[in-house]
């Protein structure tokens, strides 16, 4: 009887132990995994496909987990890694966009709260912009770490509600894209502010207004409210997307529109855009009825 009892207990413990087995795996294992390798191969094949860009067919699409449901901005580091940021919490995520792997995340301070709208990288420093134009500066952190940060007030809150930010290395400035312009005299135009990173510059701030009257008329659009901005590493042109209008515009830094087009289907709320050195356009969508997404296209 006693043996039966002992055997039963041991069996149950083993059973419970196997149920408790942690299924965690590290990044190296994930990167080497069959799925990851298959994904990368598929992406390479799709990139080589000449018809991919013409058809507006996604090269890849990754469904993001719940903590990233409010993904807002995208940025690429010098070594080509992609960073993403959420809307409400100062939390930065690194995503391996080629293989669809969530690599790491870290917090700004104690996960500060705010209305964060865009992120960019300049000379190893990360800049996170709030809709008020307030910019937090910090360095990249390790997984699950909390990094120290500094805050810069641009003082543009009264002028604009910002949605996108990008670093333009040619002028060593941050370019801030304005979504809603508070100046009622400005209509049908894109307003960009340039925030120089050169500390000795007396006039750090400059403003560029690009008229879109012709573009809007030609495409039959009513408005264009940029939700993010990026730079094409090949041409140095600015590429802006608008989530409300589901459109995309490429323009030169001087302000002449190169082309404008609608985003392909399947972008409920495009909030972030980035273009990689290997000519991949990445668009991030905030969760609406469905989950948050990252979609890869061949660029241009």
């Amino acid at each position: 009887m006693r043996h039966a009892w002992c055997a039963t207990s041991l069996g149950l413990c083993l059973l419970a132990g196997s149920a408790c087995h942690n299924r965690g795996s590290d990044l190296a294992e994930l990167t080497r995994s069959q799925t990851a390798v298959a994904r990368e191969t598929r992406l390479e094949k799709a990139l080589a496909d000449r018809n991919a860009a013409v058809a507006g067919k996604p090269l890849a699409r990754w469904i993001l987990p719940a903590p990233l449901r409010e993904i807002s901005g995208l940025a690429l580091t010098k070594d080509g890694r992609m960073l993403a940021q959420g809307d409400e919490i100062g939390e930065i995520w690194e995503i391996d966009y080629r293989r669809g792997i969530l690599v790491k995340h870290f917090f700004i301070g104690e996960a500060v709260k705010g209305d964060f709208e865009g992120i960019t990288v300049a000379n190893d420093v990360l800049f996170l912009m709030a809709s008020s134009g307030r910019i937090s500066m910090f360095h990249e952190g390790a997984n699950n770490s909390h990094v120290a940060y500094n805050v810069v007030e641009t003082g543009l809150k009264k002028d604009c509600e910002f949605e996108g930010i990008v670093f333009d290395p040619t002028i060593n400035s941050l370019v801030l894209a304005c979504k809603h312009i508070h100046d009622k005299d400005v209509h049908d135009a894109i307003v960009l502010y340039r925030w120089s990173l050169a500390s000795d510059t007396t006039a750090r701030l400059s403003k560029v207004t690009v008229s879109l009257v012709d573009v809007l008329r030609a495409n039959g659009w009513k408005h264009f409210h940029p939700s993010d901005i990026t730079i094409d590493p090949e041409t140095g042109n600015y590429v802006l997307i608008a989530s409300l209008e589901k459109t995309l515009i490429e323009m030169t830094p001087a302000g002449s529109v190169v082309f404008a087009r609608s985003l392909p289907e399947g972008h409920p709320q495009a909030e972030g855009v980035a273009i990689t050195k290997d000519s991949i356009l990445i668009v991030s969508d905030e969760a609406t009825a469905g989950p948050a997404l990252i979609t890869l296209y061949k660029w241009p």
Partner: protein, 373 residues
């Protein structure tokens, strides 16, 4: 509850052995846990700590949106809230289930000295509160500081009578913490190992000085000799009773046993003596000279049992006697007192079969009342 007790009894093969019953309880808990986690996947993370890992977001593979026919949100708002509510309730109920056996062990281990009911209740409630606090604080340093401020403001302090009670309270906090960070496995293991270790320590009296005999070893034998053996051969059935006695109490008890045995005589025979007369006096020899002739007159037989000399208070003389039926208790006491001529402070008599006499008298009176009817 009755069903649960029966189930435990059945699964432990009707054994009252505490280790078996504990083992059975945990086995039942593991089975229930296994099925819950098997069939309610959202709770699975609580057992494996996956939810924490998700918070930490260790590297993970994203779902492929192109291969999925219809893109579905991993978590809708309502679902996530429902999940949150369910998991919180589950965590709190788990702490209850995990702490119940700890309270049983506490009550058993402390039964000798009397357990503190408030500690028992604290052991149930405390881990739930701790788990709740940890859930609220989560990763927020600000919340943690706020909590520190609130606790400092409340200022509650309780002195625990026994250091071992503190150990139980610490365990309760540890279980609460583990549950709060959603590591139910750790909480369960803490409870299991703590309980079994504690029961074993208690069972084998671990930690006593090996050169000194234990209280039980010291007193069990003389007590069992005094008490005799029961049917199952156990000398002293109540071990806690033995442990609770001091040497002085045991000596007093032994004296009492001796006296009672003398009164009752060997089993199955009519006792030679049926009462103990105790005389308190400051002049032992004088009192003895006056009391013993009196006893000769009013009792069938008598014998000096013991003389206890005390300093600073009256000494005691104990006589075991066989009373005469014709001499009532009061008459016996009066006769001894009056014989003393002031040498006796007080006299008392304990009649062994007084109850039997009273019962006999009652019976006789009843008979008398029934006869005319």
């Amino acid at each position: 509850m009755g069903f649960f007790t029966r189930l435990l009894g059945y699964m432990s093969f009707g054994s009252s052995h505490p280790l078996r019953r504990l083992g059975t309880y945990y086995a039942v808990l593991l089975i229930v846990g296994f099925f819950v986690f098997r069939f309610v996947p959202l709770l699975d993370g609580l057992l494996s700590g996956e939810r924490l890992a998700r918070l930490a977001q260790a590297p993970s593979l994203l779902q492929d949106g192109l291969l999925t026919g219809k893109i579905q949100s991993p978590e809708a708002d309502f679902t996530s809230r429902l999940e949150f509510a369910t998991s919180t309730a589950f965590i709190l109920l788990s702490t209850l289930a995990i702490m119940l056996p700890v309270t049983w062990v506490y009550m058993s281990a402390r039964s000798g000295h009397g357990h503190n009911q408030s500690v028992v209740q604290a052991l149930i409630v405390l881990p739930m509160i701790v788990a709740g606090i940890v859930l609220i604080v989560s990763n927020s340093l600000a919340l943690a500081f706020s909590l520190g401020g609130v606790v400092a403001a409340v200022r509650f302090r309780t002195n625990l009578s026994d250091a071992r009670d503190v150990v139980f309270i610490f365990l309760a906090i540890a279980v609460g913490f583990a549950a709060g960070v959603q590591e139910i496995t750790i909480a369960l293991m803490l409870s299991i190992i703590f309980n079994f270790v504690l029961v074993l320590i208690w069972r084998y009296d671990f930690g006593r000085a090996v050169l000194e005999p234990t209280a039980s070893a010291e007193w069990a034998e003389p007590l069992s000799d005094l008490a005799g053996k029961d049917k199952s051969g156990h000398k002293v059935p109540d071990r806690d009773l033995v442990l609770a006695l001091t040497p002085k109490k045991v000596e007093a008890l032994a004296d009492r046993f001796d006296r009672v045995r003398s009164i009752l005589g060997p089993n199955g025979k009519k006792p030679r003596y049926n009462a103990v007369v105790s005389v308190m006096t400051n002049e032992i020899s004088e009192a003895q000279k006056t009391v013993e002739p009196a006893l000769e007159k009013v009792t069938k037989r008598w014998k000096l049992d013991e003389v206890v000399t005390n300093t600073g208070k009256p000494s005691e003389l104990y006589y075991i006697v066989r009373t005469r039926k014709s001499v009532e208790r009061d008459a016996l006491l009066t006769a001894i007192r009056t014989s003393g001529n002031g040498t006796i402070d007080s006299v008392d008599v304990e009649i062994g079969d007084a109850l039997a006499v009273e019962a006999g008298e009652e019976r006789r009176e009843r008979k008398k009342q029934e006869e005319p009817a």
